[in-house]
């Protein structure tokens, strides 16, 4: 016998990734279990009240999820991210989590940790997730609850987080940088780095609501930082600044890439992943909510969506002059919030520029001395 009969390979070095480079092949998917949330964060793009009966009645059942996930696994999916809303609001969360694990998926979970209890801990200890990504909105009750608008949520968050960490469940942190918590971002970063060495990232880019709720969209806009504030934040984080500089080396050079095509999608959406929304929609990515880009998996099947519907969306083109003359050829596209999905959330159209995004990209580019 030659070679190693049994090899352990760190996930990032799995040779299948190389084989899949440049190929449309399913690797991962995001499973939104619910749009409901126990918190009421000002900046959230999806949250509906925890007791929203209509939303609850539209959620995929465990059986429906299993049917779709079985198809995803047969197409080669290896990694599943459970997201929401707050996924732990679902009474059948543990059953669904275990169903996914038993199908041979690596499972990550996004949660605010507020609802974590001993039952979850026992589940995660016995059947470990790849990681649990916890959102941190503040490190004082005042700031945290200014964002979540739920009294007592800070204490519950600390209790849930401590339960995870004391039981050595792998936790990663993320923080949204908001008008309501920007004064606390350095302390949030310290808090996270003290709790785990694994991972911390902050995100200052807030996109608008999936449901288009105008009042909530105004709240989100009021939480957005100015481009100058975002740049200041990025400058204060050397790790992030370095990553950004590295990313800039890959910036699209429209002059060097020949004649520009008029395709809308030039990102990775729908190439190796998809999102299964809480009510059965297949999306190329979580943010892409344009009705022409959603496939109803309650009526159809994943294979057809993957092999026929998504390629059709990826082939969508724009004839709009303003798009072709601005975003489509913009050399700053890799550091811009703009994409067809976020443009649609802002304007209702996928192929128009968004002033706030332009300001942000140009300010960041200036800070990185790209322009």
């Amino acid at each position: 016998m030659s070679g190693s009969i049994l090899s352990s390979i760190p996930l990032p070095e799995f040779r299948v990734w190389d084989r899949l480079k440049g190929k449309r092949s399913l690797i991962s998917f995001c499973l939104e279990l619910t749009a409901r949330c126990n918190l009421n964060c000002t900046h959230c793009y999806i949250n509906l009240p925890a007791g929203d009966r209509e939303a609850r009645s539209e959620e995929l059942t465990r059986e429906e999820i299993n049917r779709i996930v079985d198809e995803a696994v047969s197409l080669g999916a290896l990694w599943c991210l459970i997201s929401g809303g707050e996924p732990l609001l679902r009474g059948d969360f543990s059953d669904i989590y275990l169903d996914l694990k038993k199908k041979g998926l690596l499972v990550s979970v996004f949660t605010n940790a507020v609802l974590i209890n001993q039952d979850h801990i026992e589940l995660f200890r016995r059947y470990p997730p790849r990681d649990i990504e916890v959102s941190v909105y503040g490190v004082t009750a005042e700031t945290y609850e200014r964002v979540t608008r739920k009294r007592g949520s800070f204490d519950a968050f600390i209790r849930g987080l401590d339960l995870l960490l004391e039981n050595r469940i792998k936790v990663r942190f993320k923080a949204m940088a908001l008008r309501s918590n920007v004064h606390e971002i350095p302390r949030i970063a310290d808090f996270c780095r003290e709790k785990t060495k694994d991972f911390f990232r902050f995100d200052p880019f807030l996109h608008l609501r999936y449901d288009g709720d105008q009042i909530r969209n105004e709240e989100i806009k009021s939480e957005r930082l100015t481009p100058a504030e975002v740049v200041d934040l990025e400058r204060s984080d050397p790790e992030r600044l370095q990553a950004l500089s590295d990313e800039c080396e890959k910036i699209v050079d429209p002059a060097g890439s020949g004649e520009l095509c008029n395709h809308l999608f030039h990102c990775g959406a729908g190439r190796n992943s998809f999102t299964l929304s809480w009510n059965g929609g297949l999306h190329l990515c979580s943010s892409l909510r344009h009705p022409d880009c959603i496939y109803d998996l309650r009526r159809g099947n994943l294979r057809q969506a993957w092999e026929e519907f998504i390629p059709g969306v990826l082939n969508m083109r724009s004839g709009k002059k303003v798009f072709l003359e601005t975003c489509r050829g913009c050399p700053l596209i890799n550091i811009c919030m703009w994409c067809p999905a976020t443009a649609h959330l802002e304007t209702g159209e996928m192929d128009v520029p968004v002033d706030y995004f332009c300001d942000m990209a140009h300010t960041r580019a200036g800070a990185l001395e790209l322009i």
């Binding site: 016998m1 190693s4 009969i5 049994l6 352990s8 696994v73 290896l78 016995r126 059947y127």
Partner: protein, 102 residues
């Protein structure tokens, strides 16, 4: 349970899932204590895959060796080395359990 490989023992997979992705045969640990669970996947080469499919709790290891020797018309001694080698590796990582004698 012991890590010593016994030809008269019957072995079965522990809590893990075997999958084939893009031609790679992989073992995904399901519960804690299997492998090291830290972002690791386990891949089986083609020989290991043939052996793995027979470690299903039905035959003694000696029976597995004999079946493989008959099916592939190979020398028992060489096949036994391969089978025991894989089983030892799997036991070390708790990916295989020895079933109690009935």
């Amino acid at each position: 349970m012991t890590d010593v490989v016994r030809l008269d023992a019957i072995y079965a997979p522990s809590e893990l899932v075997a999958r084939e992705i893009e031609g790679e045969y992989i073992l995904v640990p399901l519960s804690s204590g299997i492998g090291d669970m830290e972002d690791e996947l386990y891949t089986l080469n083609s020989t290991a895959r043939v052996i793995w499919n027979r470690l299903n709790g039905k035959r003694t290891l000696r029976g597995v060796v004999e079946d493989l020797a008959a099916e592939y018309n190979g020398p028992v001694a060489e096949i036994e080395v391969d089978v025991k080698g894989l089983v030892e590796e799997l036991l070390k990582r708790k990916m295989l359990i020895e079933l109690p004698e009935s």
